[in-house]
């Protein structure tokens, strides 16, 4: 640059998270105003604050724009096949339980083609941190509908608007047994990083949904404007409610005044999946007790007025 820097500006050689990104892979492939970069940022920030040796962090992705995350993060990283990030990560996490294994992938990758692995890994409470980047569509392949596409949303495979009921991912994750369930948007960078940190230190299955703008695949066909507009919407619509009644937190895109409920919804302790010889009595008792607890909680929450 030819413009001299103002005297007060101090140049530093390195940003603290530089070593956590594969700078030699930049420029990245993500579109301008795509939300995925913010998620990557929160994840590496969490790594640097985790107090866990960098060499102990492993990042696994599936296929998709979100699935490219693993490729930009400078820890041991595995960019696997579409839908199989969770079982691949299970292999690592179960064989090397001391490692902190995080899966970053898309809504389609994790809940459509990989949906079966997601529910079973949650049921088993495998010690994994799942960061599910939900952009309501298949971004990578050019904006098709998926299991998270909201009712009425247009996409290249729902040209007249989708009429399928989408997944409410936090509700799903909770129902199938996740120990930690949260939803944030890329606007909530600080909260997201905190939740990722919490997941890193939690033994068990953590599911974090991150709503993320995809101006190319979802924004354009639905007249949502660019990513900035999505951020504005997040700011206007998001309501933090850790106590939210999960069956009620579907996202409605037809009404921009309706709330988007975010928060840390579930944080329970269940014994994490660890294949051992026979089920230790104590653990069995814990699992049964937790199941009973959960039933009570569900009954109570069903009784609530919402």
């Amino acid at each position: 640059m030819s413009v001299p820097a103002p005297a007060a500006t101090q140049f530093v050689e390195e940003h603290p998270i530089d070593t956590l990104l594969r700078a030699d892979r930049f420029p990245h492939i993500l579109c301008p105003a795509c939300g995925i970069g913010s998620v990557i940022h929160c994840y590496v920030q969490a790594i640097s604050e985790s107090g866990i040796d960098k060499a102990q962090h492993v990042c696994v992705s599936g296929i998709g724009c979100s699935g490219r995350a693993a490729g930009y993060i400078n820890v041991d990283s595995y960019h696997t096949t579409h839908g199989r990030a969770v079982p691949f990560a299970l292999g690592i996490a179960v064989y090397r339980p001391e490692l902190c294994v995080t899966v970053i992938s898309g809504d389609g990758d994790l809940s459509s083609i990989g949906g079966n692995h997601l529910i079973h890994a949650a049921r088993r409470n495998v010690n994994l941190n799942i960061i599910c980047i939900n952009n309501f569509n298949y971004g990578m392949t050019g904006g098709q509908a998926g299991p998270t596409t909201p009712v009425s949303a247009k996409s290249s495979t729902t040209p007249f608007g989708s009429w399928e009921r989408p997944f409410n991912l936090p509700h799903l994750a909770h129902a199938v047994g996740a120990s930690l369930v949260s939803r944030w948007t890329v606007l909530h960078a600080r909260q997201l990083k905190q939740t990722i940190l919490k997941a890193m230190h939690k033994q068990g299955f953590a599911f974090i949904e991150v709503l993320s703008p995809c101006p190319t695949g979802f924004g354009r066909p639905n007249d949502r404007g660019d990513g900035i507009e999505d951020m504005r919407r997040y700011r206007q619509r998001c309501v933090i409610d850790d106590e939210a009644y999960l069956p009620d937190i579907d996202i409605d895109i037809t009404d921009d005044t309706s709330p988007i409920v975010v928060g840390n919804f579930v944080d329970i302790d269940r014994p994490p999946f660890q294949p051992v010889l026979g089920a230790p009595r104590r653990e069995v008792a814990k699992v049964l007790a937790e199941n009973a607890n959960q039933r009570t909680r569900s009954r109570e929450s069903v009784g609530h007025e919402h």
Binding site: R22, D24, R25, K54, A55, Q56, V58, V60, I63, A70, G71, N74, V75, D76, S77, Y78, H79, T80, T81, G83, R84, V86, P87, F88, A89, L90, G91, I92, A93, V94, Y95, R96, P97, E98, L99, N116, H117, H120, Q274, P275, V276, L277
Partner: protein
């Protein structure tokens, strides 16, 4: 390691040294244990279920990890993950499950993650004959995942070979950093015969090549192959910050989506197996010295073929057997040589499929190749092979 349980006096040892009367599926599981299996992930399917069950019982007792996955897609992914973290890994399945595994078999080839996959072949296609024999997955094992890559496949003809070849499969997988298949058939998987398990120190072990650079050494390129075309393998959690991807990648492991990198990578993946073929190929030859008719057979069919060759000799027909112990790489040189011999007049290829390995023989010789095919469900009898030999 997880799942470790302190062994008690009554716990059977990892290597069950001694003579056993053992079913093929169990012998395969014991071979895996003897080879140092660390991690098994699988989903039950006849006729391979006994492998899964045996390991569910045995593996945790010797400090290994057994996981019954939600499906075969998960099983293959999990063993790749564990192998990437340094484990010796196995899955076992049969036709329908094998089909589900195909995509990630390509991932294993592309990421060069070693693993062993057992397919106990039953009557197919589709659900076919779950409890009855077939040998029709041999081309699927070679070509089943999309694209070009190299693999190795063994086909045992006895429970003893189920044991021996499973050990070999692990060693070849680690040596070449590839998926290796043990293609059993239902008859072999379900037959019980004597299996001799040697002392633990006599079990051969070849480990993966590991990086000689320290973690953090910028010179280390995780996908830069040595002269033997095999790159040393760094595992998750060692500090190398490796990147593994199924995308076409350069020597750093980074995606490089262009024709030139692709050409180099795929060529190496194919050649790596080709140049090491002599180490991987295994055959047995019976009465080939003066043979005029050469039978080429594998798995349970090779047992019938051996009988048929003996019967033909009694009737004055100079028959011989080339038994394929490894199916892939195919012993091309050997078949070519046999085809060039003056004495040899024809080949006979019996197999429980509609004509697969006979194509391999056909492309290597100008001599007549007679195939004997059964769709599946029953063994080919010695008599039916004999008829062709004496005709």
């Amino acid at each position: 390691m997880p799942g470790t349980v302190s062994a008690t006096a009554s716990t059977p040892p990892r290597v069950m040294t001694g003579e056993h009367f053992m079913v093929g599926d169990h012998a395969c599981a014991e071979g895996a244990l003897a080879a140092g299996l660390d991690f098994f992930a699988g989903y039950p399917i006849t006729p391979s279920t006994e492998i899964c069950e045996r390991l569910a019982h045995r593996l945790p007792q010797v400090g290994g990890t057994f996981v019954q996955m939600e499906d075969e897609l998960g099983s293959i992914a999990a063993i790749l993950g564990a192998s990437a973290a340094g484990a010796r890994t196995l899955t076992a399945t049969s036709g329908p499950g094998f089909s589900l595994m195909m995509e990630n078999i390509g991932l294993a080839a592309m990421m060069e993650i070693p693993c062993v996959i057992v397919d106990v072949m039953r009557g197919s296609p589709s659900t076919g004959l779950p409890t009855l024999v077939g040998q029709a997955d041999v081309f699927q094992a070679r070509w089943g995942s999309h694209g070009d890559y190299g693999i190795v496949a063994y086909s045992p003809s006895s429970p003893q070979e189920c044991f021996d070849l499973t050990i070999r499969a692990f060693n070849v997988a680690d040596r070449l950093r590839i998926p290796v298949f043990v293609l059993m058939d239902e008859v072999i998987g379900h037959m019980t015969e004597r299996v001799v398990i040697p002392p633990a120190q006599q079990i051969p072990r070849v480990d993966r090549k590991r990086p000689s650079h320290e973690p953090g050494d910028a010179v280390f390129l995780p996908f830069k192959a040595d002269a033997d075309l095999i790159p040393p393998m760094a595992h998750a959690g060692e500090g190398y910050n490796v990147h593994f991807t199924g995308l076409t990648h350069d020597e750093r492991g980074y995606p490089a989506l262009n024709a030139q990198t692709h050409e180099q990578l795929v060529t190496r993946l194919v050649n790596k197996v080709a140049v090491h073929a002599p180490e991987a190929i295994l055959t047995e030859e019976v009465d080939l010295d003066d043979a005029e008719v050469v039978v080429v057979a594998f798995g349970c069919t090779a047992r019938s073929a051996r009988r048929a060759v003996a019967m033909a000799r009694q009737q004055g027909v100079k028959a011989g057997l080339l038994r394929l112990i490894s199916l892939w790489p195919f012993p091309e040189e050997r078949v070519r040589d046999l085809g060039r011999r003056d004495a040899v007049k024809r080949f006979v290829v019996p197999e429980i499929n509609m004509g697969q390995m006979c194509r391999e023989v056909e492309r290597l010789t100008h001599l007549p190749v007679q195939s004997i095919n059964r769709a599946g469900g029953a063994m080919i009898t010695p008599q039916s092979i004999l008829e062709v030999l004496v005709s």
